[in-house]
Each structure stands twice: as structure tokens, then as C-alpha cells.
Amino acid sequence: MPSFELNGRTYETDEDGYLINLADWNQDVAKYLAEGESVDMTESHWEVVNFLREYYEEYKIAPMIRILTKAIGKKLGKEKGNTKYLYDLYPGGPAKQACKIAGLPKPTGCV
């Protein structure tokens, strides 16, 4: 099983570096995962990550992008409630890259 070490702890991941255990996640882990994705975490990045975690907590799946953009738009203003804004933050795709940093499992299917 692939893993990485951080602050003296070992974290298990899947082959693509997604955390195996949701509960392992903390802000340091998120920063570490973001670094691996060349994403510099700003306040705006955290907004997305926090929303993803809250949604997952309730529904056990990541939200579809449209739900995410609407939530971001509500919170940060309409001009930010769109897919482009999300891709600017997470060029690797909000569904996959942001999920990874948020410690969520990788969405798989026909996506």
C-alpha cells in the first residue's frame, strides 16, 4: 500500500495519492497534498476544501460541480460561482484535484 510520512506519522494512500482514511486528514496533510499538486493554498482554496469535506460528511460522496459552484457563489459572490473560477484554483479539475487535497476518495466512474 503506498503511503507518505508527515510529522512522524505514516499516511496510507491509494496509487494516485488519495488518502485511504478520511479521518487521517488535517490541515497539514492538506498542505502536503496540495504541494504535490503544485497548488498554493489560499483562503479561496480552503473555502472549496472545507465545503467538499462538509458535503462529504453528510452525503458520503463529493458534490457535483454545479452544487459546488453554486455554494461558492453564495458564499463568495456570484462572480466566483462558476466552473472557470474553480479551474483557476484547481487546474487539475475541482472534482479530482480538490477532492484529493480535501482527503476525499477519488471519484471514479464515467468521470
Binding site: I61, M64, I65, R66, I67, G92, T108, G109, C110, V111
Partner: protein, 501 residues
């Protein structure tokens, strides 16, 4: 985005047959399935000790079960007609991706254990053991076939390489050598009801969100009912339609059609998946179990009709196999096709005058259509031969003013796979997917440059996901990709003359 450490094919004016490069894609293999993926499907958790004899035994079993497989292994005369027809060969240059060479990986084993000459003089008839090296090649190259069946169109004997690759995957699963992506997804259908693993509360929330969204944008109360007993139609869509862009645009298109026609329908959370990856792994048993969920729900909800959403291989399974897998469907209304494709459904309503389209609504688009491999080569729509090609095009023409065809050698039954079909739509195979998309991208770029095409109409969830990801790598915007029912959604006149006339 991760750095690309491979060469992206340069797009030429025409699709060119490349020079061979031995082993060019030998490094591209799928992630292996683990115990947690294999065990729930009844496959050995890990590679079994006597895998060689067990694998050969399984091949023998399949030869008896599927006479077609034996014919395909016996009959090839190495004429070479298929050699340059596979998108993965054209994109990777690896000779093992020539369909004849891919099949030869199984034929060599077949000759070794099942033909007198191969048993006695293996070297003379190019027979080889089912050994470590062969198994490695099987894992690699039978996961570089998207089972699109383009090669079979050109084979004078009609050899179906997809069936060979399905058999190979079935044999590998039976000895505990599985592919993570496909087995994990089949498992999710059994436990949650769909490929993506969307639980009922999340699905409910998503559909309600979309209803609200449609109310905001259209001013009409368009429903996306879930688990509604007594509905006329059970709509079975690929679960990507509940999650991804541009998929959900088509889902909203379907909903608007039902709304406008005044036909009640429901989505089912238990059977919230049209896709059937049982086909990709060649497992009749898994295919049957997945199909059975739909039959069970159709009966329990008391629906009269089954309509299948935009999902290519799902339509193959539904149209060609559902009868055997989960029939009889004698409880459904015989006045309608059982099952019915959403394009058939919408087109039929349009012909009857129940729907009005405003083509101008899509005037920002010049549209072309990519035939999905499974739909084009393994199914039918409507009551005429070629209906599966004709009906989606008629729908596009009904909803758009400008429609353009791509190179005739790349459409209809000669269509190229998007590069992500057959259970290969997974990130570890990204290089293969990028390279395999080359033929389609070549034809698309041609019409984008010559005819100002800016929209690629699709009727498959895999095609939509694959092209959304791959086209930007070739410098084509992601927004180029969309569903046929996305066009319907834009053009449909709500409230114009509601109900069936």
C-alpha cells in the same frame, strides 16, 4: 495538472498509419485489483497458486461455452485487413495493438493447449505457454483494447476482437488477476446502486438541486422524480449524468422532454446506473446481476416502459442482452420498444408533434456528431437499419441549424473509439487515452478548421468524460464537448403545446 512525460501525437491533416515501434506501450498497464475489489465479485482475492493450469482450464471452459470464441481463435488467416484499424495502434505505434497481434496473445496459448500441432510442435505453429511473460502481456494489451469492434468491421471473417479481450479479462479475473478500476466500480453498483457510488440521499439532493436550477433558468417546474411508484417510464441513465459536466446538461434535457410531453417518469436509486461494466470484464454473471437490478425496480415501481439515457455500452447491453440477462419483459407496454433509447424516445415525440424546437437557440454552435462505438456497431434504434446512426443525427438537425459530418471513414459503423471505452477510462491509462484519441481528434480538427465546428455532440457518458479531459490536451476547449440532449435542452420550447398530440 500532472506533467505529461510522453509524446502527444501531432495532429496531421489526415489519419496516417504510423511506423511500428515494438513495445511502445508496453509500460501502460492498469492498476491491479485488490482483495477488497475482487472478493465481493466472487473472484479470487489474489493470484492463485496454480494460476497457469487454472487459466488454461478457464480458457477451455470458455471455448465450450462460447463457440464464437473458438471460431475467432481458429479462423484468422493473417490477411492484415485489421492491422491499421485500431485507434490504439494508430496512436501508440505498438504492434501488439494491431488487432491481429492482440488476438495472437490468446491464439498462441490456445494452440499450445488445445490443438494437436501446438501440443507436439509448439515452435512450428507459434504456440506458447501460458507463462509469466504471456500473462504480463495479457494484462497490458488486453487492457489496451476498448472493445470498440472497429477491427471487426474490416475483418473479412468478422472476427470480434472485443470478444477475445472480454474472454481474456474473464480468464484473468478467474485466476485472481483483476483490474482495479472496473472491479471497484462493479462492486459499487452492487452495494450502492451506481458506478459513482452516489447514495440515495445524495442522489435525492442532487435531483432537487437540478429541479430548482431548471426552475430558476426556465421558469418551469420541471421534475426529476426519484423512486416514484406508478410512473409510466423508468429512466435509467448513466450515473455520470447525476454528477459531471457536461453530462448533467443532457439529464436536464431528458427531464424537459418528459415534462413537455406530459409523460410521467421516475429515476430509481436502487437501479441508478445504466452502465454495465460486467460487459467490460467479460463476466456474464456480473452483467446479469447488474441488469437484474433494473428489472427488479421496473417491476416494483410498476412502470410500463424503460428508457435508457445517453450511455454507449449501456445501450448495447440493454438492446442486445437485456432479454437474455433479465427478461422476459412481458410486463412492459408492447406498443413501445423494450427498451427504448432516449434519442428514440425524444425523436418519436418530435415526429408526433409533441415537441417544438427552436433551432436558433443553438445558433452559437456548429455541430458535428461522434458515433459511439457500441451504439454504432452493436445496436439499433428505430425500425430501420442504421437507425442508431440516423436518429441522433435527425435530433441534432431538428435542434440546430448547422450540422456538419466528419470524415466518412471515421463515422457510422467505421467510427473511432473516443479512446476511453471498454473500462479504460482511468487515470493510470491517461497516456493510452490521449494517444488513442488521435484518430478522432484528427477528424474533429479537420472540421473545426474547415467548417467552423465548435460542438461535438455525444450520446455516451464515457465519450463525454474522455473528450472533456483529452481535447484540452490537444488544444481544443472543453466546452466543445456536449450531449445530444444538451442541444435538445437548449432548443425545446417549454409550454408551447404541452402534451402528446
Amino acid at each position: 495538472m500532472a506533467d505529461v512525460n510522453y509524446e502527444i501525437p501531432e495532429i496531421q491533416d489526415e489519419i496516417e498509419t504510423p511506423r511500428l515501434k515494438e513495445g511502445a506501450s508496453a509500460h501502460l498497464g492498469p492498476y491491479p485489483a485488490q482483495e477488497k475489489h475482487m472478493a465481493p465479485l466472487g473472484f479470487p482475492a489474489a493470484r492463485v497458486e496454480d494460476w497457469q493450469s487454472k487459466g488454461v482450464e478457464k480458457l477451455g471452459e470458455l471455448l465450450k461455452k462460447y463457440r464464437s470464441l473458438q471460431v475467432y481463435l481458429d479462423i484468422c488467416v493473417k490477411c492484415g485487413a485489421c492491422a491499421d484499424k485500431c485507434h490504439y495502434y494508430l496512436g501508440t505505434r505498438d504492434p501488439h495493438n494491431m488487432p491481429v497481434q492482440r488476438a495472437e496473445l490468446m491464439r498462441g496459448v490456445y494452440r499450445r493447449y488445445f490443438t494437436p500441432a501446438g501440443k507436439l510442435l509448439p515452435g512450428v505453429v507459434r504456440a506458447h505457454d501460458f507463462d509469466e511473460e504471456t500473462l504480463k502481456k495479457w494484462v497490458t494489451y488486453f487492457h489496451q483494447c476498448s472493445q470498440c469492434r472497429r477491427c471487426s468491421v474490416f475483418c473479412p471473417y468478422g472476427i470480434d476482437t472485443a470478444e477475445i479481450s472480454m474472454a481474456a479479462r474473464e480468464i484473468m479475473d478467474s485466476i485472481g488477476v483483476g483490474h482495479k478500476y472496473t472491479t471497484e466500480i462493479v462492486g459499487k453498483v452492487h452495494t450502492i446502486g451506481n458506478n459513482l457510488g452516489i447514495p440515495q440521499p445524495a442522489l435525492k439532493g442532487t435531483l432537487e438541486f437540478l429541479e430548482e436550477d431548471m426552475l430558476d433558468t426556465s421558469g418551469h417546474e420541471i421534475r426529476l422524480p426519484l423512486d416514484q411508484p406508478g410512473a409510466e417510464v423508468l429512466l435509467v441513465a448513466p450515473s455520470a449524468d447525476f454528477f459531471s459536466e457536461p453530462h448533467i446538461q443532457s439529464l436536464m434535457g431528458y427531464a424537459k422532454v418528459f415534462h413537455q410531453a406530459g409523460i410521467s417518469f421516475t429515476i430509481s436509486s436502487y437501479a441508478s446506473e445504466a452502465a454495465n461494466f460486467g460487459m467490460f470484464i467479460g463476466s456474464f454473471d456480473q452483467k446479469r446481476k447488474i441488469a437484474a437490478r433494473i428489472a427488479k425496480q421496473a417491476r416494483e415501481l410498476g412502470v410500463k416502459r424503460l428508457v435508457v439515457g445517453e450511455c454507449g455500452h449501456a445501450w448495447r447491453v440493454a438492446y442486445s442482452f437485456w432479454n437474455t440477462l433479465a427478461g422476459p419483459w412481458d410486463f412492459l407496454d408492447p406498443n413501445y420498444p423494450v427498451p427504448q433509447h432516449i434519442c428514440e424516445f425524444t425523436y418519436d415525440l418530435y415526429k408526433k408533434g409533441a415537441l417544438v424546437f427552436d433551432r436558433d437557440a443553438n445558433d452559437d454552435k456548429v455541430v458535428t456528431f461522434h458515433d459511439s462505438c457500441n451504439v454504432a456497431r452493436a445496436t439499433r434504434m428505430g425500425d430501420r437499419p442504421g437507425g442508431q446512426m440516423m436518429i441522433p443525427r435527425e435530433l441534432i438537425r431538428a435542434t440546430c441549424n448547422r450540422f456538419v459530418e466528419m470524415d466518412p471513414d471515421t463515422i457510422g459503423e467505421k467510427t473511432f473509439c473516443c479512446g476511453g471505452g471498454g473500462g479504460l477510462l482511468t487515470d493510470e491509462l491517461m497516456e493510452l487515452r490521449v494517444k488513442g484519441a488521435m484518430p478522432r481528434v484528427t477528424a474533429l480538427k479537420r472540421v473545426m478548421e474547415d467548417k467552423e465546428v465548435n460542438f461535438l455532440g455525444l450520446i455516451c457518458a464515457i465519450c463525454k468524460a474522455q473528450f472533456s479531459k483529452i481535447l484540452p490536451i490537444y488544444g481544443i476547449p472543453m466546452e466543445t464537448v456536449g450531449g445530444v440532449h444538451q442541444l435538445v435542452s437548449n432548443a425545446i420550447q417549454l409550454g408551447a403545446k404541452r402534451g402528446i398530440v
